[in-house]
Each structure stands twice: as structure tokens, then as C-alpha cells.
């Protein structure tokens, strides 16, 4: 039971034929070669697979690719142009917002969505927004610092 779907991924129109049971995460990683988004828990809890669907955060591991047919997907690869970094990515480097790195694509995409929604978040707003992105290295203070840094720079 295959289905041809059309997505706009990181601004580019893509068409792909997939089985209906393909998750959006597997479609991005295996069919479209975008391996930035990771699978952690596989049940929507850990946030490693976070991407934006029409600008809103979703867990792509529990989203069906067919449900995204006709919609717009943004992954970590699409936050900035080739060989460039999004201000949130630069801030994660400067403030030490990652250790092993497996959760980082999800952290960065969630942080980008946060700053789109709330450009100048309080620490409480950062914590509430990011509580769905787990870091098993437990680098939470540095992640919060990274987001604070990105928000400050965008104000400067």
C-alpha cells in the first residue's frame, strides 16, 4: 500500500513514494537522506526527532509521512543555508549547549521554534518549552544558557 506524497522540505518541493506506515522521521532519514533528525525513544517523549510541520514542533517519530502530504517540513538541515549556522546553532557552540550531540538537532529545532514564538523568553518560559527535549548527558543548564545567548544576540 504505497502512496506518492509531496512535501516542501526545507523550502524545496520533494515527491516521494512511500508505504503508508512510514513515519515522517523514517521518510526524512531513509527516503530523503536528511539524517539530522534522530530517533531516541520512538514514542514522542524524548524530542530527538523534533521537526517543524507548517512551523509547529512535532515528534516526527509518531507522525505519519502521509499525514504531512501537501505540507511544509523544516528539519535541522534547513535552519540556515549550506555551510552556514543558524544563530541558535552558533549559540549552542559558544555556550557549550551539547556534549554527545544526539539530542542536539531536536534541541536546536525546538529552541528555534521557541524564539519564533517568544523572541525574548524568560528562564521559566525556556524551561517549560524545552521540557520535552531530554539530554541524557544532563547538560540542561548549558542548553538554557545557549537559548538565552541566542535570544540576547537577536536583540543586539
Amino acid at each position: 500500500m504505497n502512496r506518492k506524497i509531496r512535501l516542501t522540505v526545507n523550502g524545496t518541493a520533494r515527491a516521494v513514494e512511500i508505504p503508508t506506515y512510514r513515519t515522517l522521521l523514517d521518510c526524512l532519514r531513509n527516503d530523503l537522506g536528511l539524517t539530522g533528525s534522530k530517533e531516541g525513544c520512538g514514542v514522542g517523549v524524548c524530542g530527538a526527532c523534533t521537526v517543524l510541520l507548517d512551523g509547529k514542533m512535532i515528534s516526527s517519530c509518531i507522525a505519519l509521512a502521509v499525514s504531512a502530504d501537501g505540507h511544509e517540513v523544516t528539519t535541522v538541515e534547513g535552519l540556515a543555508g549550506d555551510e552556514r549556522l543558524h544563530p541558535v546553532q552558533q549559540a549552542f557552540i559558544d555556550a557549550g549547549g551539547f556534549q554527545c550531540g544526539i539530542c542536539t538537532p531536536g534541541q536546536v529545532v525546538s529552541a528555534k521554534a521557541l524564539l519564533d514564538a517568544i523572541p525574548n523568553p524568560s528562564d521559566a518560559e525556556i524551561r517549560e518549552w524545552m521540557l520535552g527535549n531530554l539530554c541524557r548527558c544532563t547538560g540542561y543548564y548549558k542548553i538554557i544558557e545557549s537559548i538565552r545567548t541566542a535570544a540576547q544576540r537577536s536583540r543586539a
Binding site: Y21, T23, M57, I58, E128, L131
Partner: protein
């Protein structure tokens, strides 16, 4: 996940026709947070999925009979942040804010959460306490049911095959009322409740005696429960800390929690009493402040 057919019709009538044609084989999908997770864990293996996502008109929040009507495709996050809900029924916005994480609230829909009929969810508890009604459509037409009658058993609702939840209608609180939602979370902030309680206290116009109380609990049985015995203890009475505590104690006989990693059944029963007392105290305080404001 198993293989399945998938349809994303543009109208509700079309969706109902597909559901009727495929009977028990078909499942409705909206945000997918519950269904896709269960499919990935092979707890369910539907042969046909009918998506409601592309049907316009199911995603509105609007004023209805002084209260609020919330369409089935409205997301949890949209209820939480809706100026209309925050102004008219703040306890409902606060309840939806306590569900999982922002990301899951951006995906999960109001109709999907009801149809999922998981007794550990937050919204049904407050919806029951508020006296909300669920709107249902089938091929034969529409019907409405109090949310408290909608849940039948563990993950079982009153939906007949071929029926779809289209929305929920939430009445506004009466005058001199206060409401509270208390979610006991000993583990992580995005967890399901160990015990959840919604309480609404309505005072007489003198601001002293209790006209009526409504109390509902989640995570303490196979469905969300309404604590009618506790409510009866409060109606017509002058409230005080002792009486609220007694109302809490009275729910121990009404709840029937399961032992799991969030606590033993005995522990949850004790905590249900404590949390009912706390929710009532908060609701009473809010009701007194509301009664003072309207005098």
C-alpha cells in the same frame, strides 16, 4: 507498524462514508500522538486509517450558549493559549497546559484525546467537573453526551463503530464559583498524573454556604470518575477545612486505582484523598474571591 490503507477526505460526510464502508477495520486519526504510538507498539493494527486533518471547520474555538465550543481538531496547545478560553474558563486552559510537553500539545487534538479514552489523561477530568458535553456524528446523524457518560471502560468510549467526535461544549462557571485542577506529579513534569483532581465550588449569594460542588478524578480507575458522594457532603453546607478534608477522605471508597510504576493502588488511594482536599481548598478560595467580586 502494520500495513494499512489511508484516506484524508476533505469533508466529514466523506469521512463518515469511508468509516461505514470499512467498519471495525477502520480507525480515525487526527494528531496521531496516541494512535501512531499504539500502532508502533503493535497494540492496535487497523487496516484502514481515516484522517480528519484535512477537513475544514473542525478546528474552531467559539462562544456557544455563554460557554465555549471547541472543535475536535483544535490542538491542546490552542486551547491552552486561546484568549477566549483563558478569559472565560481559565481552569480549562490551565488543565491543557499540564499535558505532556509543548510539542505534544501542538500535535494532540481535543477530539482525539476524548476518543482515545485513556483514564490517565488530564482534559477529561476538568471537562467532567465543568459539566461539558461531547458532540458525536455518525452516518445516521448527530448526538450529544455528557463527557462523564462518554467513558465506559479502560480505553473504551461510548463511540459506536462509524462515529466520530466533532467537538466538545463547555459551559461557563456559574456566578460565585471557583475552579481548580490539581495534578500530582511525583516523577517528571511531562508525565501522566499519579492522581489528578478537578474541583468546582459554587457558593450561595451570601458567599458563605456551598450551593454545589463538582469533583472529578483521573488516573484512579479504568475511566475518569466523578466523586458524587464527596459532592453530596458539601452541598448546602458551610465550608471549612475539616469538611473539605472529610470530602477528600470520602473518595477513598470511590476510587479503584491500578498499581503501576507511578505508585501502588494503596498509595494512590491515599493521595486521591489528599489531592481532593487540596483541589477543594483552592476552588473554595477562588469561589470566595469570586463571590466578593460580584457582591
Amino acid at each position: 507498524m502494520n500495513a494499512f490503507e489511508y484516506a484524508a477526505p476533505r469533508t466529514l460526510d466523506e469521512a463518515l462514508a469511508v468509516l461505514r464502508e470499512h467498519g471495525d477495520e477502520a480507525r480515525v486519526i487526527a494528531g496521531g500522538t496516541a494512535l501512531v504510538t499504539m500502532m508502533r507498539q503493535r497494540l492496535v493494527s487497523p487496516g484502514y486509517l481515516v484522517s480528519l486533518r484535512e477537513i475544514p471547520g473542525l478546528g474552531r474555538i467559539e462562544v456557544a450558549n455563554g460557554g465555549v465550543r471547541i472543535g475536535a481538531l483544535v490542538t491542546h496547545r490552542e486551547v491552552e493559549t486561546s484568549p477566549l478560553v483563558r478569559e472565560r474558563i481559565p481552569v480549562l486552559a490551565e488543565t491543557f497546559r499540564r499535558v505532556a510537553s509543548v510539542r505534544i500539545r501542538d500535535m494532540a487534538t481535543v477530539g482525539g484525546a476524548l476518543a482515545h479514552a485513556d483514564p490517565n489523561q488530564d482534559p477529561p477530568v476538568t471537562l467532567i467537573a465543568l459539566g461539558s458535553r461531547v458532540e458525536i456524528r455518525g452516518a445516521g446523524g448527530g448526538r450529544e453526551l455528557p463527557v462523564e457518560d462518554f467513558f465506559r471502560d479502560y480505553y473504551e468510549s461510548a463511540l459506536e463503530p462509524g462515529e466520530v467526535v466533532t467537538g466538545v461544549v463547555v459551559p461557563q462557571l456559574p456566578a460565585a464559583s471557583g475552579a481548580a485542577y490539581v495534578k500530582f506529579l511525583p516523577r517528571t513534569a511531562d508525565d501522566y498524573a499519579t492522581v489528578a483532581v478537578a474541583a468546582i465550588v459554587t457558593l450561595e449569594s451570601d458567599g458563605e454556604r456551598c450551593r454545589a460542588a463538582r469533583i472529578a478524578l483521573g488516573s484512579v480507575g479504568v475511566t475518569p470518575l466523578r466523586a458524587r458522594a464527596a459532592e453530596a457532603l458539601l452541598a448546602g453546607q458551610r465550608l471549612g477545612a475539616g469538611l473539605l478534608q472529610a470530602a477528600g477522605e470520602s473518595v477513598k471508597g470511590a476510587v479503584d486505582p491500578l498499581s503501576d510504576h507511578r505508585g501502588s493502588a494503596a498509595y494512590k488511594r491515599e493521595m486521591a484523598a489528599v489531592m481532593v482536599g487540596r483541589a477543594l481548598s483552592q476552588a473554595w478560595e477562588a469561589a470566595r474571591s469570586s463571590a466578593r467580586g460580584t457582591q
